[in-house]
Symmetry: C3
Subunit: 351 residues, 3 copies
């Protein structure tokens, strides 16, 4: 069960630059393509003629041509043409509201009449020249909610990422979880500590003393359906920590879009937005590589956790204070799901 009346990040434009992309989102098999008018199309990945995946075809003259027998599908799910055929009576396929924004393609897999692109979250850093962004995509064989748990409880950094961003002080520092305007926030501050390797490198990149005592912060922000933005950084101790002025700190936003594929797999779009040296593309690459390496350390743990949970269906998981961010995020998802199901019943009755 997925919340469907919402925008998920489906892919990035480079993924269908050469040829259409077939991708499953919330259990729906979708063909993404850039149409001849430049707009992105998203239709069920099923040719109404003989069932071939439309994503194996190519774009031509305003539509997606099936690579088996040449049926041309429009972005609205209606067949545009087929050689020697009258296509007026052909059954439609589902088309999906889709929007290209901030360097991502956003898709709505639920009731299309409710789709409003104003509901796509505002990503200020994506359009601000003072900021730079770099990121990547992992396919992970686990429930997307396990990834939300992972990101809303960073104590795991001490264990999973012990050689880069983890440090003992993380799980020794108290964590606060609160709900602010529908956003779940998990906040942790650590004072007068040594920076771990990743942040030492960032301090050096910013011309600061990598060996100085620092104040470190992690502010995880969950917004439904499954976006987690994490403000992270360190400031030379005694300058106000999170509130310190730019010249005393190194900071950035960890960007996580977590898109369900099936009940036990998801697409994980990860990245980092920073507001220092935005023009330095070599630095962007370097950070992307480092982050990709660190985040890949979560993969095995998450996939093994998923398999283990399936192996022990009778066991419940604990909900400790450190898990509170994930617990509250799941509660929001459950409420949205419940509302969606009720709305769907009402629609059925009134229709």
């Amino acid at each position: 069960m997925f919340t469907k009346n919402c925008w998920y990040v489906a892919c990035t434009p480079d993924e269908f630059a050469e040829k259409p992309l077939g991708r499953q989102i919330c259990g729906e098999r979708i063909a993404f393509f850039r149409n001849t008018d430049g707009k992105v199309g998203a239709v069920q990945d099923f040719c109404p003629h003989r069932g071939a995946p439309l994503s194996l075809g190519y774009v031509e003259d305003g539509g997606l041509v099936c690579g088996y027998h040449g049926l041309k599908m429009g972005a609205d799910g209606k067949t545009l043409s087929m050689p020697k055929q009258r296509v007026g009576g052909f059954p439609c396929v589902k088309s999906y509201p889709v929007e290209e924004r901030y360097g991502f393609v956003w898709v709505w897999t639920g009731d299309a009449s409710l789709a409003n692109t104003d509901d796509i979250p505002v990503l200020h850093w994506a359009e601000d020249p003072e900021w730079a962004y770099g990121g990547g995509l992992y396919h992970i064989n686990c429930d997307y909610k396990l990834m939300i748990d992972n990101l809303m409880d960073l104590t795991h950094e001490t264990y999973v990422h012990s050689t880069s961003i983890g440090q003992k002080e993380i799980d020794e520092a108290p964590v606060k979880t609160k709900l602010v305007d529908g956003e779940v926030q998990t906040v942790r501050h650590m004072e007068n500590i040594k920076a771990p390797p990743f942040w030492q490198a960032a301090l050096t990149a910013n011309g600061l003393d990598a060996n100085a005592d620092v104040d470190r912060w992690q502010i995880c922000r969950f917004n439904p359906p499954s976006h987690v933005m994490i403000e992270v950084g360190v400031a030379i101790a005694g300058n106000g920590g999170y509130e310190a002025e730019a010249q005393h700190k190194a900071s950035s936003i960890v960007v996580d879009f977590i898109t369900p594929e099936t009940e036990t797999s998801h697409w994980y779009f990860w990245g980092m937005a920073r507001n220092f040296k935005p023009e330095d593309s070599a630095l962007t690459d370097q950070i992307r590589e480092g982050q990709g390496q660190i985040f890949s350390e979560d993969l095995e743990m998450l996939e093994r956790q998923q398999r283990n949970i399936l192996e022990f269906p009778e066991r419940n998981l604990l909900k400790l204070d450190i898990d509170s961010g994930g617990v509250q995020a799941r509660r929001i998802i459950d409420k949205l799901l419940e509302k969606e199901q009720q709305d769907s019943k009402i629609t059925s009755v009134s229709a």
Copy 2:
């Protein structure tokens, strides 16, 4: 569900020249072997002693010896001997009517009492020194009927085989489907066109002008249970097309034996029979290689189509005029299946 009271191509003799061959045909696991009398044997691939596959064994003194404990199985499914054992009371395994003919091994997986080798189709080209044949085998993970559809509607050549035998004129030319003496025929003629690359090479091989305008034909012939022979060729335009005399054309028969393995997989025996330069074995190899390359282009499409159909079980496929050959072929298969089930009931009642 498969039509079983019929002859399928099971394998070619080279496949069990070194050691027995285990192969599943119509859901039946069968061990094929050449017995010491030179005849081909086909028995259930199950040793009645401890269940090992007999195909892991070897042939010796009139039977197939199990490679685990030495039980010797006869081609009739009765145990011939076993060291230090009296085998008279051993349970039998199923044996299958089998016939080696035309360079293929034909098997009957249904009611053995109905098997008549006279029902094996006559392949005139296989025994005529004026003809040469070359071919190969692909294992494909899709319902064998999807392959019949594929071969009875060659409009897909324009899309799937665009660089070799496909050309735009194919799906622009009208197609006729008819039923002649229980054979489904799909016929397409194209006039005054340029030959596509494959046929240009064939014209050259025949000493004809590769760049001349040609008339092209495709005559697909389906015969149950699942054989599709396709007469294909080009003639220099103005010589009568299909009816042109030999010196004006290049032509051949595409040979397709499509043998079910499971409901969603099959063995595809493909080849080409030609009546020019039959003694030129280098040409045979060259054609086999080219055809193998072209036919491999269908594999991904067919397997992805199969998976997609399983993913969208609620959707029906269209039955356009171009699909008529496949539709009529399936109708014949369904009737045979129905008859087989009725006969089976009658036998049960009278027995």
Copy 3:
């Protein structure tokens, strides 16, 4: 269904020397680790916090630390600690009686209150300096009882191991099966034969004539739940065969611990114990390599047999005289299983 109130060989100490080992035994997923007190621990491979496999963690200060968020599990299945958490109320995980003995780790997956290390079989050769042992481990995708069958009927050597230990005389020699004090014995003696390659090498290693006529013996001993020890050897003919004095023979004990993983897979600990040249570790290596090679020949046969049995569920297997050892072993296992289930019911009623 497995007999669980018994000791199985689970692993060897080298398998968790570097880091914990996750292994499934009798359907139970278990984390094995060497605790800081030097003792082996065995607990359910499931962290009660968020379900990660504990075997992905590390040992520290008296417990197994989960590699995800740092929960520390004790060998008794009770959480010892977790950073910033009070763990008194944490749910336990199952812990398993475990004993390191004879170079193996033995585990009890049934009712822990019945576990008594005195029931671990005595392996005299494992502690006697006159003996040497070498062995290995195979994971095999078949019911562990098929491996018992395999080892209790050595006629298969003639077919499966024809180039090493097999010879025609094996399946020509009569075999006797008997039950002695709860142990199933299958005995075969062959007189005045030539030694097969493996034994020729052993004769040479012992300074005997490899080409002399020999008497050969195989005494297979099954003890529940699934241990098979096989006395094997050859003696220069005319010296009393099995009873011959040491200087006339080459002999050893084939050691087989067969531990169920699932209903259709098992862990096979194989090895050879010998009482000649025990100090010659090069010879130990050489024998291990040879035995490993020979025993690997059984793998394909057993896995294919398993798949075939699953494919032909309606067929029964034969129970010939040569199968009697396996049949009687299965009968003992079935009785133990029945008793275990009755005991379990009685416990349930009285509880």
